[in-house]
């Protein structure tokens, strides 16, 4: 009974996360437009695009793998969301957090891109393998500082559970890992720029180079599924960062605000920087951010 109730709560949570992700995406588009001196689309444009894509006929298919791509991508986002506590200390918001969830969640981060690589490649368009290859290589690069940061936190707290890591920061913002572990936080937040895929790290669907990238052959319902997956993926990652570094959230409102603020970090960077080439991006992540991560681990160990 308790499990059923939790499934119900978590499903509602997934829906809220998707809606909030789409809304945030719309706000980001509006923000970029305002920065460029344009009016920009309405903030609810994400919902309209989603609806429109569902009402487009899918007229091609490239075999079963083609269908798996968007499904895996969405599953990755939903997976991250379901296995970390969105709101700590409130049963409906705890989701299915368990002792080793941090490891599982880091696996889920790879999941989506792998799915995209497999599914997109079935389409046979030359941009697809290029985009997927770029995405995966950049991912291996930014995972290094991120995992070093996570190791630092885990070594200090002695737990692989996001829930425990969040509870360890209870008691005011001075206890947040953002302030108590500044090096780990710096490494992780730089890695987040790569995760979100905004400029300067938008090498996967690089505009003017391989526009649309791995999604070139996708259309209609596939794009709608991918859009849903992207929305929840973005929010789930922000929740993870909130839990790891900003002390989690104790109410829905707090979660909304913190997620939005963390998201704005990568948007602020994206608004002013042009795009890196993929080799530059990899060299960047394996340079200073990785070194900061090593320092964080050393500080945590000694």
């Amino acid at each position: 009974m308790e499990l059923l109730l939790q499934i119900l709560w978590s499903s509602i949570g997934v829906l809220i996360a998707v809606a909030y992700g789409l809304l945030t995406g719309g706000i980001v588009r509006k923000l970029f437009a305002r920065i460029q001196g344009r009016v920009g689309p309405p903030v609810y444009q994400g919902f309209i695009d989603l609806g429109k894509n569902f009402f487009v006929r899918d007229n091609i298919s490239h075999g079963p793998m083609f269908y798996f791509g968007p499904a895996l991508r969405t599953a990755g986002g939903v997976g991250i969301f379901l296995f970390i506590p969105a709101i700590v200390g409130w049963a409906p918001g705890e989701n299915f957090s368990f002792a080793g969830d941090l490891l599982l969640v880091m696996y889920f981060m790879f999941f989506g891109s792998l799915g995209m690589a497999l599914g997109g490649s079935a389409g046979g368009h030359p941009h697809t393998p290029i985009g997927a290859g770029r995405g995966l290589s950049q991912m291996t690069a930014f995972e290094v500082p991120f995992i070093l940061a996570v190791i630092a936190l885990v070594a200090d707290t002695g737990s692989f559970s996001v829930h425990d890591l969040t509870l360890a920061q209870a008691g005011g913002f001075l206890e947040w890992n953002l302030l108590t572990h500044p090096f780990a936080a710096a490494a992780a937040f730089i890695a987040m720029l790569g995760m979100n895929g905004y400029a300067p790290f938008n090498v996967v669907g690089a505009p003017n180079e391989i526009p649309v990238g791995p999604m070139t052959e996708y259309q209609g319902g596939f794009i709608a599924t991918l859009g849903t997956g992207r929305a929840i993926f973005a929010i789930a990652k922000m929740i993870l960062f909130m839990d790891l570094f900003l002390g989690g959230a104790t109410s829905i409102l707090e979660a909304f605000i913190k997620v939005f603020v963390i998201y704005m970090w990568s948007v602020a960077v994206a608004a002013v920087f042009p795009r890196y080439r993929v080799d530059q991006s990899m060299r960047f992540f394996l340079g200073w951010p990785a070194l900061i991560g090593v320092v964080a681990v050393l500080l945590a160990l000694f």
């Binding site: 009016v39 920009g40 444009q45 309209i48 609806g51 487009v56 999604m215 794009i223």
Partner: protein
Amino acid sequence: MGVEEKGKVPLLPSGVPVGSKPHATDSTLFAQGRPKPLSLDESVAFIKNWFRAQSLNVMAYGTGCGSIELGPLGTSRFDMERFGITGGPTPRQSSVLIISGYLSVKTLKRVIRSYEQMPNPRWVVALGSCTINGGMYWDSYSTIKILDQYLPVDVYVNGCMPRPEALIAGFKDLMDMIKRGEANGYIEYQNNLDWYRANQRKVIKDWNLPEYSW
């Protein structure tokens, strides 16, 4: 014994010699078959059309001099994104094809392929007088004159060349037509595919397109 006969080229399963250029009849490379004619009545068409009209995706493809007017549409001066109109380079995700001016016969072939690869519903906006009656290329040997005979046009924007404002006005018209359920060129195309094909084959001499470019 076991030696290939000299001068004999092995064949693909479809009967095409290995190493020859892919040809439209090669069923291993091209999907054959035609789309079924579409019917007009759709359930909850009103809601669907509202969504479709608010989120147009323009195929980034320019044909004539008019394509120079497409670039400014995305800039801060004209900003088509405020109407929910975005651009994209892949036909699979596009819903609007702009024929921006004169269309040479050579380009017509590519345009047909792109148009047929777009998923339904899809619309064609014809920009400039060249697409209406040939414009200043009315006696050219290498351009088509009346676009509507080759692709179903939903909205014409006349002028030589029309300013971006005119194009935005055209988009607004298209959006209104979609909402009213009147922009049905794509249904025309599939119901009268034979007529369009005959016209297209009349001008394209080296016709090597498949039955339908899925």
